[in-house]
Symmetry: C2
Amino acid sequence: STASSSGEEQQKFEEELIPPDNFNMVSNWVYRSSFPKKKNFAFLKKLGLKSILTLILEEYPEQNMKFLKANDIKFFQFEIAGNKEPFCHIPEDKICAALAVILDRRNHPILIHCNKGKHRTGCLIGCLRKLQRWTYTSIFDEYRRFSHPKSRSMDQQFIELFDVSQVWKLIDRNYVPNWDVLGCPW
Amino acid sequence: STASSSGEEQQKFEEELIPPDNFNMVSNWVYRSSFPKKKNFAFLKKLGLKSILTLILEEYPEQNMKFLKANDIKFFQFEIAGNKEPFCHIPEDKICAALAVILDRRNHPILIHCNKGKHRTGCLIGCLRKLQRWTYTSIFDEYRRFSHPKSRSMDQQFIELFDVSQVWKLIDRNYVPNWDVLGCPW
């Protein structure tokens, strides 16, 4: 933050930053949001991201790929379909794999996103909160805060039934983030 | 996280943590919530708080004071009345003083709270986001996410009219947190 009186610096300082919709900090160095668009890139750059983890089914757009390359950001994709229909299940193995990425501090700072940042991201964060030993009341409050007004009870059911014990096996304990609220079983 | 097979340790591990209502991470080492109750203390302990900043008018309850003492937590109170009535203004000087506390990393980790964690806390965080150069769209989205379904346009107006330039004068630049998203004018 050294002072500079150049016009360019001044302009840069005055530039507004546009977080993606539904942007929020989940924990130290872990962020969540809706799908980041070009107008959000200046904001995201400030976060100094090392990784982006997406849960969308579709191929990642060209301009987002360019942003990743230009900023040396690792890319993780775990394809999950929305939990809209009663026969459409969220695959537990993909949620587990995604949690293992999030719980490896070599990937931090990390941004997690799907399309709206509501349902798939909400399920993943809900499972993370279970690992952090939050009560269901708190987990569901948070889920609904970001999915409102389209909260799905199927998603909350998924979170409730999700078995956290299977996650720890996938995690390298040498790189678990230094969160006091993490209830690692070792 | 060293392993322990004692029953006591096991019980401790299984204990559920109850964040206060409306709990959220604002930025690294900065948290917000509703009024913390006794059942939330185990959760708050995990955050390793150095300070608590409250915006309530009332005297701080005995059991909360005890929690502060037992955990060596600094206490800041800036008394602000809710912005309910058209003639009830939020005092800008108190918001400025509160922002100066938040923007001093010697006070981190810090928890900010009022009663519901909706309106007064929402105004303060909104002003913080202005310092971080967020667009009004993002600031108001966040304000509404935490004040829903009782969002107040008076609060949003306060945030919009708040003059951030007066805050920088109160801030010791040697202790400004290392947030890349902070738009310090020096």
